[in-house]
Amino acid sequence: MPEALRRIGLVLAAPALAFVFALVVASLVLQISGSNSIDTYRTMLENGSRLETMVDMLNRATPLYIAGIAAAIGFRMNLFNIGIEGQYFLGAYAAAIVGAEVSLPGPLHVALICATAIGVSAAYAGIAAVLKVYRGVNEVVATIMLNFIAIGGIIAATFPHVIDRSGNNATNAGTKQIDESGWIPDLNGVVEIFTRDIGRGRQLTGVLVIAVLVGVLFSVWINRTRLGYDLRASGMNPLAARAGGVPPARMVLFAMIASGAVAGLIGMPEILSDNHSYDQGFVGGLGFGGLGVALLGRNSAGGIAFAAILFGFLDSSSAVLQVSGQASQSIVVIMQATILLAAVVAYEVVNRYRQRDEIQRAAMAAEVSA
């Protein structure tokens, strides 16, 4: 078998295995619940091929993707930044407040909002990093505690003081609305060049551009720069990295803060293109979602993109399924969890096979040249 084909096969084997397994499990669950799995899948696919659904899919995938990159930065260093949830909440919260207080020319205003989110989020992540480096506090426990403190403490404490009482917010109490100069335009115009008009008021968030940028920067940075090398080496073997000149404490700090910084952008779709304020309906759960897609995408920019789009598709389908009465919404959640679990197992299995195979081939080559 030609070498290139073999390599591609190995890379795809694991996700393919995982997906098939998840499909089997989901079908079983569907059948037990009395739904017809084939029909359900057909509905999902049909729905998915509609332009409006694709827009919805990408809209959901965008914050998920950013969360995945944030998680991946940590994962590459063997750091588990479970605190992404609290970090992006704080970041968006602060950005919404600051953004509503000023009015600057368009791009500047947007930049300010993003910068605030990134700064606050990174600083909060920095707390956990400092605790780990200087006090040896386990970062998993620390970040979870900080999550609760951020959402249940900091935000809960200050929210009553920043609510906009001018009656602008119809349903949910929230911060002041940001001026239009702080809005990011949608990409409908760009898309409609290639396709028909997007109906039903669906807007493709402009933050998608930011997300793609973040992904590209991450990929280039981690694979091609010295700092990226240091980070990956530290994650693979911290002792060897240290002996190789990589400062361990600085790496941990850097990785956590960088992860937190990217996490700050997770809330941007909502603040910049959707809602333009922080309110009680702010979307949560993206922290864990990010961890999931990062694992699924094996911490690479491209893989995470696929994973985020897949999960975005599944999320988007869940509404349709509910409406059509074919299956319950939660089937999607089960699918996602199963895919994740199956994927990490499959990756390990394929990895072991690949290692064994590599050792064998290297040994044979060594014997030949002996």
Binding site: G245, R356, A362, A370
Partner: protein
């Protein structure tokens, strides 16, 4: 009387290598039988098969005349075989008693451990064979010699009549080796059969009744200890002259490249583990550091490399003070490092070879250009290392994990040397690699020395130390207690410095 152990036609294959090839071995009851061979000859694999830790691919095994087939160590233990491993299989944070009874615990009703019976039996065994240990002490608080005694008791506790000892003297100094041999003779007098794996010929000749020589996985010969000399054994083991390191002409100059002055290093409990150590390494010189593991060598290395900050004292690299400098700064100033454990500190096992070659040098040309990694440059340099240092691999893209131990070590040495360091710190550079690679490494160090490299060599292999070093210093309890000339060295004298017996008054200042 049937022989205690009979191995006939044992064969075991691993990917890319035949570890044991039609091995035949007969051990008589009540004798001390040595198995001799160089690193990588297949001794350990053979013993693992004998002890049930690995199944043989072909061949038969007989214990006391009866054919057996072991599927796990439990079977071997039941057959009366006990193994004392080279790397102790002890749980540090558990007590001696817990380690000894693990897997053979005496129980009362309900699964509760009968501590009284366990303790009694342990003391019985200790008394019968003259091995003294405190059952309640934690393993981590014991010295190496004591830990080995625990390993032996572990085996005797289970009523082993056949003992396998895998390179037991690797971690002992001459005096402790004598103590061990005393114990073994006592065991033999009590009726035990002992299989003794070793590659130090003098020791083998001293203790064994008969010797079997293994080379490249095959049995070469079985001889009586009384009728051979070390030379004979050496020839059998290697098939030709043992490649012992010869000193050659010294290339040492009087330019100091590494200077350590009054260095004090503390451990994590704030105790001094390196006490006022001072020495200099000159250009073109190899300074060997002898000493039992655990006498401060690791901490001294850490302070020189920069992973630990000393409490007091200074480290000078080619004239500039690097005492508080970062590891990276020291690397960039010309410090090379070959770590003691290549897997733990030397390699990124799942990264390709070219990324491993960059480790430690990723801020310099040809591995980096500014803030970017120069992939082409890295690959090029790795190819050069592969060629110059004979690293056997299909290409430079394979993971480091895929290489054999010897090739991994050659890669590490190669990457350090290729960066043209001014000072090289090498810790046990030929540990656990095959003879051929070992000889290659020695040659590389000698060649570099000729070109002006200053090397600080830490090793437990006395032959390596004596053969490569221009001067030897001895570390004991964190201090440098002697400076010796390798040309006039005596193993006993060296050993007594290493154990502190040579110190006036013998006061223990731990």
């Amino acid at each position: 009387m049937a022989p205690a152990i009979e191995l006939v036609g044992i064969t075991k294959r691993f990917p890319g290598v035949v570890a044991n090839d039609d091995v035949n071995l007969t051990v008589e009851a009540g004798e001390i039988h040595a198995i001799c061979g160089e690193n990588g000859a297949g001794k350990s694999t053979l013993m693992k098969i004998l002890y049930g830790m690995q199944p043989a691919d072909e061949g038969t095994m007989r214990v006391g005349g009866t054919e057996v087939s072991f599927s796990s160590p439990t079977d071997a233990i039941d057959a009366g075989i006990g193994m004392v491993h080279q790397h102790f299989m002890l749980a540090d944070q558990l007590s001696v008693l817990e380690n000894v009874i693990l897997g053979a615990e005496p129980v009362l009703a309900g699964g509760r451990i009968d501590r009284r019976a366990a303790r009694a039996h342990l003391e019985e065994v200790g008394a019968a064979y003259g091995l003294a240990v405190d059952p309640d002490e934690l393993i981590e608080d014991l010295e190496i010699g004591a830990r080995q005694r625990v390993e032996i008791i572990k085996v005797l506790y289970r009523g082993a009549s056949i003992l396998i000892l895998d390179e037991p003297t690797a971690v002992l100094v001459p005096q402790e080796v004598e103590e061990l041999f005393r114990n073994l003779r006592e065991l033999k007098a009590a009726g035990s059969t002992i299989i003794f794996i070793d590659h130090k010929l003098q020791e083998v000749l001293e203790i064994a009744d008969r010797i079997t020589v293994i080379r490249r996985g095959r049995t070469v010969a079985t001889v009586d200890a009384g009728s051979v000399t070390a030379q004979d054994l050496a020839e059998l083991m290697v098939g030709s002259e043992l490649p012992s390191p010869e000193s050659g002409d010294t290339a040492a100059t009087d330019e100091v490249l590494l200077s350590v002055d009054d260095l004090v290093v503390l451990d994590e409990d704030e105790r001094e583990v390196v006490k006022n150590v001072s020495f200099e390494v000159f250009r073109g010189e190899v300074l060997g550091v002898a000493g039992i593991e655990g006498n401060g060598q690791s901490e001294l290395i850490d302070a020189i490399i920069g992973t630990v900050s000393p409490q007091q004292g200074s480290v000078d690299l080619a004239g500039s003070d690097v005492t508080r400098a970062s590891v990276r700064a020291r690397r960039e100033a010309g410090l090379g490092y070959v770590p003691e454990d290549r897997h733990e500190e030397g390699l990124l096992l799942d990264a390709p070879l070219w990324e491993n070659a960059a480790l430690g040098h990723q801020t310099e040309v040809p591995f980096a250009r500014g803030a970017w990694i120069d992939r082409a440059g890295s690959r090029q340099r790795t190819e050069e290392i592969r060629a110059d240092f004979d690293v056997r691999s299909p290409n430079v893209e394979v993971s480091a994990r895929a290489l054999s131990g010897g090739n991994q070590q050659k890669l590490i040495i190669g990457r350090e040397m290729a960066a043209e360091p001014r000072v090289l710190v090498a810790a046990h550079p030929t540990r656990g690699i095959d003879v051929g690679a070992q000889a290659d490494v020695w040659n590389q160090i000698r060649a570099a020395r000729g070109e002006g490299l200053a090397t600080l060599l830490f090793s437990a292999d006395l032959e390596e130390l004596i053969g490569l070093s221009d001067r030897i210093v001895v570390m004991f309890h964190g201090r440098l207690v002697a400076t010796l000339d390798p040309a006039e060295i005596d193993a006993r004298v060296l050993g007594s410095y290493m154990t502190g017996a040579a110190l006036e008054g013998g006061a223990d200042d731990a």
